[in-house]
Symmetry: C2
Subunit: 314 residues, 2 copies
């Protein structure tokens, strides 16, 4: 069961009217028209044993992550979160304090972006903890609307940029504490002509593939330009191990985006975000996604990430 | 862990601005203002072993129910569903065909109401099947808006009415095949002054309590007037068993509502819905909810339903 295949299957069966649903499944958020207004919506779950380990990380971290993942999807569209809903399936063994922890964890990060939790559903069952969150958004900018920025707008010649540093987010538990790049995304969309954007949840390699598939383009990134996180070095002793981690680990929740080279040039000089932006490659015609290694050699970069001869690619 | 207590705890911690979120947690849908337009949203989960039994009912029935429960919450506001999102946590043992069945089950009932599934998330984990659905709605009526109808508008003197027949929905599997009363609710809201409405998921007794708590009123219903479903007779050999089932079983997804007595009189005469509407009692001052039994005696009707001396109340 590959999620991507399943989404493709769903899309093939979904005939959406562009007037009511301009953006359907397959982007970070859906975009709907409700009474003539654009409403964005995204939903993502956080499951015990997959996205967190309840016994290790606790309910508050689980709730926070469930909410933050969705806020990050709103950021990926350069949109503004408006409200959230959540369902929680609690293990029968859970105490009331754990349910409160989960809620408090959600609130902590939602409050940071003035995103009230307006509804939800709590159930108790024999399974592990499952949290599902839906966040609505609106386009940013009053008067002069900004975005939403889709995955599908990259064109050959665009520069590829990324915020922050990548790799090792799970090992270092950064995946539980990251702050969604909502403000950064809006600044980017206001000041530069961002053609396509995604948040890095599956990993740089996989998410770059998502942009390329939706935009029907190829891409080349350079190992030397990839901002490898300190935490990625936990993956192994070699530089190649850390590179692998930065390409394949995922859970970074940084912004990956494409923009015209002159805008990228200005952006890299301006560095207007508080977090560093790196220019890591370029969009190309075709459908090949490749990595120029430290040795200068161009090789295929698969969605699964990249494994050097002796590494495990995590 | 009582869901009601937890929702109360959440509400006590939620300071919503009425300008942005006119209706927060505690009603069938939340109501938000997005760019000056009212958007309704509701979320509910369907869990294996709680809301369905996957091995017995199959994926399609599970998906259908997850969607239908949410559409029923939109009906309870007399609103129109616009779009849905869903997350699915699939057991590791699930086959691709099961995921497709779940999706097809959701689509079957969503399509019936022109409610496209615009986004979602599928994950595989070691737990049982968990489905979470969010549905957005808009107010009904073009030009002359109808609703949304809340739980909180009942006033003493109102008549209490209910659509259809109640009880035995789980045993007979009606809970897997019901059609949300969306069209019926809109017709009611268009033609009559509906003060408060809810869909019966927890059971007539519990959901009547919900209306009374939100409206700060009491109520009295008459056993003789309650439309007991044929399926409720599966609960036991006595009339009292069937009455218990109709009060406590839940999962009927019928509409329970309060309206002025003269409107109720007209409604009962008109019977405009295709499904029969019954007048079962009245809203009273205070906070007592009571049942006039077949013996004419007035007794407390608890949210848990009603158990006659020899019955089990199920």
């Amino acid at each position: 069961m590959k999620e991507r295949q399943f989404i493709d299957w769903i899309r093939s069966r979904t005939a959406l009217e562009p007037e009511t649903v301009p953006v359907g499944p397959g982007d970070d958020c859906a975009v709907m028209m409700i009474d003539g207004k654009r409403v964005l919506a995204t939903t993502d779950q956080a499951l015990d044993g997959v996205h967190f380990v309840l016994s290790e990380h606790g309910g508050s971290a689980a709730g926070r992550k469930a909410m933050a993942r969705n806020l990050s999807d709103v950021a990926a569209m350069a949109a503004v979160p408006v409200a959230a809903l959540a369902t929680v399936a609690l293990p029968r063994s859970a105490r009331t304090s754990q349910a409160e922890d989960i809620y408090n964890g959600m609130r902590e990060i939602a409050d940071r972006f003035d995103c009230p939790i307006v509804g939800g559903d709590v159930g108790v069952w024999s399974g592990p903890l499952a949290i599902s969150v839906t966040v609505f958004g609106r386009t940013a900018g009053n008067g002069k609307p900004v975005g939403p920025i889709l995955r599908s707008g990259a064109v050959p010649g665009d520069a590829i940029c990324v915020t922050g540093r990548l790799g090792g987010a799970w090992r270092s538990r950064r995946h539980l504490t990251f702050t969604p790049r909502i403000e950064e995304a809006i600044t980017l969309a206001r000041k530069y002509e961002i053609h396509a954007m995604i948040d890095i949840s599956d990993g740089l390699a996989a998410d770059l593939h998502h942009i390329c598939e939706e935009s029907r383009v190829g891409a080349r990134v350079a190992a030397e330009e990839i901002p490898i996180h300190e935490d990625a070095k936990l993956a192994g002793p070699e530089t190649q191990d850390a590179l692998s981690a930065s390409l394949g680990d995922g859970e970074d929740y940084e912004l990956l985006f494409a923009l015209p080279p002159q805008d990228a040039h200005k952006l890299i000089q301006d560095q207007p975000l508080g977090v560093c932006v790196s220019r890591i490659g370029e969009i190309l015609p075709g459908d090949r996604v490749s990595l120029v290694g430290f040795d200068g050699k161009d090789q295929d970069l698969l969605p699964e990430g990249w494994e050097h001869a002796t590494g495990n690619g995590d």
